[in-house]
């Protein structure tokens, strides 16, 4: 089974990504596009959770979305930084407390920033050495500005 990083650990990825507007597989834990999930948040014999694409306007539905146990944010490419804002909005503005997973094309060297913006699960680009990647979660031990992880900027902590 493919692996992901969750928190600080490497675990099995037991969620399967389902592309937009495609038929649901018969069984399993399935990530479906949030528009589909809002229409049908459950299905027989399957567990469903929503994913949001980088260009999606999701705020009008945010109150319902945050009831999901898991939300995945899709990065079409690692150069598309919209998902960082999406994550902060879900966590800080809408108070989502479940698992927030970065999926799509995300790379090891983004882990620290992803973590700061509120992600806690990372499905990294295929072929990544996950053992090695774990270190990148802690590339820095200190930050200048506040974010989801800690709202206090350094200037409120300098002694």
């Amino acid at each position: 089974m493919p692996k992901i990083i969750k928190g600080n650990a490497i675990i099995d990825n037991d969620w399967q990504f389902v592309a937009r507007d495609s038929d649901l597989p018969e069984s399993g834990n399935l990530l479906v596009h949030f528009s589909q999930w809002l229409n049908a948040p459950s299905a027989d014999g399957r567990a469903l959770a929503p994913w949001i694409d980088s260009e999606d306007e999701f705020e009008a539905q945010a109150e319902r979305l945050i009831k999901a146990p898991l939300i995945a944010v899709h990065f079409p490419t690692f150069m598309d930084g919209r998902g960082f804002s999406t994550a902060r909005l879900l966590r800080e503005r809408y108070g989502f407390t479940g698992e927030l997973r970065a999926i799509g094309y995300v790379i090891q060297d983004q882990l620290f920033f992803l973590k700061r913006c509120g992600f806690d699960a990372y499905d990294l680009r295929e072929g990544t050495d996950l053992e090695n990647a774990l270190r990148s979660l802690n590339d820095f031990t200190l930050t200048y500005q506040g974010a989801t992880d800690s709202a206090l900027p350094l200037f409120r902590q300098r002694g």
Binding site: D80, G81, D109, Q110, F113, L114, R125, Q145, G146, R158
Partner: protein, 554 residues
């Protein structure tokens, strides 16, 4: 100048280790070429036509003599013995080896320097006025605010993968020497009726392919809200800026598409969620930062006496008086002056310095200007705090070293990007054009007679040489694989930013000096007494210039 504490040191050192590891993984094949691109760019590393190029941040242009000596050492050890000052107050090395870049960054960290966010689609090194803190027309010193923005933007987790690069400039004076109207965000320090400090906020200015002058979206932002408001602008841009076409991805395109009014409203809405959050600035933090930009230990000097002595020296030596006229600027403090060291002698690429010269400049800074140096937007260096009584001896020394070309602000003090000799994006060379023009206009008296005149050269649409805002702008273009040059007239980056008008069809390289000469002739024949180039140009229009330049058999 700002000084690192253990926090700042730790962050920069952790960056060095991070990049060392990234470079190793790239060389091992664990990071693809495409993935390494933004990682190295955010560390200032380009892969150029001939070799990599490393761009090092000089935050708002301030350097200490110790840092200059380190740069000299890097130039000597890792490069071919020279460095290049850019139009954004940064410094570039043109020949480092990729494998050695982590070592260079480690050396820089020792002297509180780095290459963080000097390139890539992120918030870039914030720029300001080279005369900050000493300009007589200053409302407030912009540098503490620049430093606060620098820290906030450094490794901002949400804004490291923006649609496109993002540049912020801060001006603290009446005259805009930081070109805030052509930045993604321009901040003008202002005072309210009650004497409270704040910012006028402009967005959506920029040069490049679609040059635009920025729009004001807020007339007065009280200082405590600086960072939360910036955060709101950046979030709106990060979410809604175009990502489908890199030529339409700058914030200026979004501002234009939405209109500045709608953009301002979106920012205001977003800001309501950020307002008064912990990123709101505190008096303690601002006071702490301002402490680094206090006055050096100025001596009590009688300006009248100093000025008298100077006049005597100037009368006795014409060359010195010319240098005083062009290269010495007024200072807020009586008895002091700011001196621009010209990095534009004819025959040297504008902004280029050797390792030996860097060390010599460090020496001058130690002896004449409290060990500090500033890099300017026009690719020169400034010794900001020189006693008037020392100007003569400084001039003698600078002259011997080749930094006293008395051409500051004149036609030959031209701005020029590296162009086709170094830059892989170039359409055409720019350095040889600069040199040919400098050679053509080698008569100093004539240059003085022409007065203040800016000539800016870019080797392609990216406009690193700011050609749109030169009184005369030259742009390298490519036509079926051949290098041509388009000329623009009437640009300006002062208080009233203006974008130049294209003169007409472009020219071959060897035609350019003649064309410039004709343009200057038309100006000289048409100008009224003491009229500046742009004033003549707006009065008579582009036609007389066109007629002369494109006339048959001329």
């Amino acid at each position: 100048m700002y000084q690192y504490d253990h926090h700042d040191h730790r962050i920069v050192q952790e960056r060095v280790s991070q990049f060392r590891d990234q470079t190793r993984r790239y060389l091992d094949g664990d990071i693809t070429e495409q993935e390494f691109l933004p990682l190295r760019l955010q560390n200032g590393l380009y892969i150029q036509r001939l070799a990599p190029m490393l761009r090092i941040a000089v935050p708002y242009g301030m350097l200490s003599s110790r840092q200059l000596r380190k740069l000299a050492h890097i130039a000597r050890t890792y490069d071919k013995g020279y460095a290049h000052f850019t139009t954004r107050q940064n410094i570039q090395f043109n020949w480092p080896n990729l494998e050695e870049v982590p070592d260079i960054l480690a050396e820089l960290a020792e002297v509180e320097m780095h290459a963080i966010q000097t390139s890539g689609n992120c918030i870039r090194n914030v720029t300001s006025d080279q005369f900050a803190g000493i300009a007589p027309d200053e409302i407030e010193d912009p540098r503490p605010w620049c430093e606060i923005i620098r820290q906030w933007s450094t490794f901002h987790p949400e804004f490291a993968y923006l649609p496109r690069k993002f540049k912020i400039a801060v001006s603290g004076s009446e005259q805009d020497r930081a070109a805030i109207q052509v930045h993604d965000i321009g901040l003008q320090l202002v005072r309210s009726d009650k004497g409270e400090t704040g910012f006028k906020v402009l967005v959506g200015g920029g040069l490049g392919r679609t040059p635009v002058v920025g729009s004001v979206i807020r007339e007065f932002l009280p200082w405590p809200h600086l960072l939360t408001y910036l955060e709101a602008i950046l979030r709106v841009y990060n979410r809604y800026g175009r990502r489908d076409n890199k030529y339409k991805a700058r914030i200026k395109i979004l501002v234009k598409a939405w209109t500045p009014e709608v953009f301002a409203q979106k920012v205001e809405e977003e800001w309501q969620h950020h307002r008064d959050n912990p990123a709101t600035l505190t008096t303690e933090e601002v006071t702490r930062t301002k402490r680094f930009f206090t006055e050096p230990a100025y001596r009590d000097i009688s300006d009248t006496e100093a000025q008298q002595a100077l006049s005597g020296q100037a009368e006795a030596e014409l060359a010195f008086s010319k240098w005083l006229q062009r290269n010495v600027m007024p200072h807020r403090v009586p008895g002091y002056a700011a001196v621009t060291l010209s990095l534009k002698p004819t025959g040297v690429a504008p902004g280029d310095v050797t390792d030996k010269q860097l060390e010599a400049i460090a020496e001058l800074a130690d002896r004449y200007s409290f060990s500090e140096i500033r890099a300017t937007h026009s690719q020169n260096l400034v010794l900001a705090d020189v006693e008037k009584g020392q100007l003569y001896s400084l001039w003698r020394e600078a002259k011997a070293l080749g930094f006293a070309t008395p051409n500051i602000g004149t036609l030959t003090d031209l701005i020029c990007c590296p162009g086709g000799d170094f830059c892989s994006l170039a359409n055409a060379k720019s350095i040889p054009i600069a040199e040919a023009i400098q050679r053509r206009f080698d008569d100093m008296d004539y240059l003085y007679d022409l007065g203040d005149l800016t000539l800016n050269i870019s080797g392609c649409m990216n406009a690193c040489g700011h050609h749109h805002v030169g009184n005369i702008g030259i742009l390298g273009v490519d036509k079926k694989g051949e290098e041509f040059y388009q000329i623009q007239l009437g640009g300006s980056s002062d208080r009233d930013t203006a974008l130049g008008t294209v003169l007409g069809p472009s020219f071959y390289q060897n035609e350019v000096p003649d064309v410039i000469e004709k343009i200057i002739d038309v100006y000289v024949q048409n100008r009224h007494d003491g009229e500046a180039f742009n004033d003549t140009f707006s009065r008579v229009g582009v036609d007389p210039f066109k007629e002369r330049v494109y006339a048959k058999n001329h």
